[in-house]
């Protein structure tokens, strides 16, 4: 947390550098979503110059979004912890290669998804020696239960699109880029997913 405070302080001290009206421009209504604008771009640029504290601040800003994406792929918290850690290390290693700072969220989401897929592939190749009960612990939050209940009703291919679209405010074009599928596919899955949820949950 101290790192976040450091950067908030710096931003406040540098009003001439960071216009107040552009700071923390929110693109989504709730407190957990990412804020875009000068602050975000500035942090990316600082991180690209090797500033670890800026990078950590950036990751903290995106942690909630990444957690939701990972949770729509993986059910085991230990696996989620691993992929988020690996994503953080990969992103820090390669952040200098990110050409457009404004696309950081799209970029890091794609990295996370690749790690999640790798994790799933690893699991498929493993021989299960002991079946672990698939009991989900909600950690005292009804939000988590609602989230899990909802995405469980969706086919795997649709889950992530729903989380990215409704939860994270990505546009269909951005989702298409992240998932490397056509925008039309994203739109049709959103449409079919909505119908499916209505039908399944009515029954």
């Amino acid at each position: 947390m101290s790192n976040i405070c450091t950067y908030v302080t710096i931003l406040q001290d540098r009003n001439s550098f960071v216009p107040a009206n552009n700071c923390f421009k929110r693109i989504s209504g709730n407190t957990g979503t990412i804020r875009r604008g000068v602050n975000h771009v500035w942090l990316v640029k600082k991180a690209q110059q090797g500033d670890a504290d800026a990078f950590v601040t950036l990751m903290e800003q995106h942690k909630q979004a990444l957690y939701k994406v990972a949770k729509s792929y993986l059910s085991c918290e230990a696996d989620i912890a691993d992929v988020m850690s690996e994503t953080t290390l990969s992103a820090y290693e390669h952040i200098s290669e990110l050409k457009t700072a404004a696309y950081f969220k799209t970029w890091i989401t794609r990295i996370l998804i690749n790690h999640c897929k790798n994790e799933l592939n690893k699991q498929k190749r493993c021989v299960i020696v002991e079946e672990i009960p698939k009991q989900i612990i909600y950690e005292d939050s009804t939000a988590d239960k609602d989230f899990i209940d909802l995405i469980r009703e969706l086919p795997e291919d649709y889950r992530l699109i729903f989380v990215l679209y409704y939860g994270e405010g990505f546009r269909t074009r951005e989702i298409a880029e992240i998932l490397e599928i056509s925008e039309n596919t994203v739109k049709s899955r959103l449409k079919r997913g909505r119908i499916k949820l209505e039908h399944v949950l009515q029954a």
């Binding site: 912890a81 790798n118 939000a143 729903f162 409704y166």
Partner: protein, 383 residues
């Protein structure tokens, strides 16, 4: 309960409670980054890069970790590499039975082998062949269709091509879907009034299989990936060219013509030959035993001397004399390229004379090979 759009939005937008396990791991990761960064940041970066490179080498050997390093590496040739070597546009399928048309018009079920696609490490792939992937597009207008050859790479034995075909109102000249992807590939329709193929500089055709990215493609734009095997007998450096035939009518109508009408129409086919950009040839390594050539291989393909495996010279012209091919790597992983009737992990295979030429459906690092196993004969590869 019924979910309305607004309910979904509210649920998916709510913050989740990040578990203590994830939180602790993230804090540990942050501390690692910050501690490493306290020293000479350049030194830290170098060390990490070395670690990543080591991981990439392992990943290239097509293990469970493949793709980890690639995840954050943004290749200029990403679409090419993913489409031809990765699993983001293709789904693995198990051994199964598929219906095929018999001569009497009925259908019979035949055994189709399993196909496995795996993630590609783009960074490592770029290291291996990136310098030989062409950058310059070749764009050709074919009536209302536009053909764009985006990239290709060749090692003289096989070639891999990424191209698109588009038409406002919908592509009509080519057909492809998930079934053709698992079969003989996309094909030209009877509505097409053109045909294109790839040849070497001498006009020798390449046998190929066109794979359609069914996720990314739209009705107006097809994204296609072609695995080609060169059919020239002689070992010469291949300089690929695009050969286009423009028909005076649709191919369906053309094929229905007979006699003089056919001859007349045949004479009016316009052929255009375009040299494709030259980006050199990926090196192949040669494996010999006791002076006999066994096979050659590169990151993208393999050429096997069937004379070394067939019972006699006559049978050496039959690709079915090869029962199995497996590439084993130094880290213990393996690539089962072919196992008769069971597994076919090749992009395309073709027998040319007494040579068995096959394009891989993934990229390999020849320097990481420890063994090549053909028809259960093991050949150790020294580093």
């Amino acid at each position: 309960m019924r979910y309305h759009e607004k309910d979904m939005e509210q649920i998916l937008k709510k913050d989740l409670v990040i578990s203590s396990e994830v939180e602790e791991k993230m804090q540990k990761t942050y501390r690692r980054i910050q501690n490493e960064n306290k020293g000479n940041s350049q030194k830290v970066k170098t060390r990490w890069r070395k670690l990543t490179t080591a991981a990439a080498i392992l990943a290239l050997a097509l293990t469970a970790t493949a793709g980890t390093a690639a995840a954050s590496y943004l290749s200029e040739h990403s679409e090419f590499l993913q489409g031809l070597f990765g699993n983001s546009t293709k789904e693995s399928v198990g051994a199964r039975q598929i219906p095929v048309g018999a001569n009497d018009g009925s259908t019979v079920n035949v055994d189709a082998p399993a196909k496995e696609y795996i993630p590609v490490d783009e960074e490592k792939a770029d290291q291996l062949i990136g310098g030989h992937i062409t950058e310059e597009q070749t764009v050709v207008q074919l009536g209302e269709h536009t053909l764009t050859v985006e990239n290709y790479v060749t090692d003289g034995n096989a070639a891999l091509v990424y191209f698109t075909l588009e038409r406002k109102g919908g592509v009509t000249a080519l057909y492809g879907d998930a079934d053709t992807n698992n079969g003989k590939g996309a094909y030209f329709t009877d509505d097409a009034d053109f045909y294109f193929t790839f040849t070497d500089q001498n006009g020798d055709f390449a046998a190929d299989n066109m794979y359609l990215d069914v996720e990314k493609s739209t009705s107006e734009k097809y994204y296609l990936y072609s695995y080609l095997v060169w059919t020239a007998d002689e070992d010469t450096e291949v300089r690929p060219q695009l050969v286009i035939d423009r028909y005076p009518m649709s191919r369906g109508k053309f094929n229905s013509l007979s006699g003089k009408e056919n001859e007349k129409a045949n004479a009016s086919i316009e052929r255009e030959i375009l040299a494709l950009p030259d980006s050199g040839t990926v090196d192949m390594k040669k494996l010999e035993q006791d002076g006999e050539w066994i096979c050659s291989y590169s990151p993208i393909s393999m050429n096997i001397n069937m004379l070394a495996f067939a019972e006699n010279k006559e049978l050496a012209s039959d690709p079915y004399c090869i029962d199995s091919i497996e590439l084993k790597f130094r880290d213990g992983s393996s690539y089962v390229l072919y196992e008769k009737d069971k597994i076919d992990n090749a992009g395309y295979t073709c027998g040319v004379g007494t040579e068995y030429r096959t394009a891989f459906n993934r990229i390999i690092d020849p320097d990481e090979l420890s063994q090549i196993v053909i028809n259960h004969e093991r050949y150790a590869i020294c580093k």
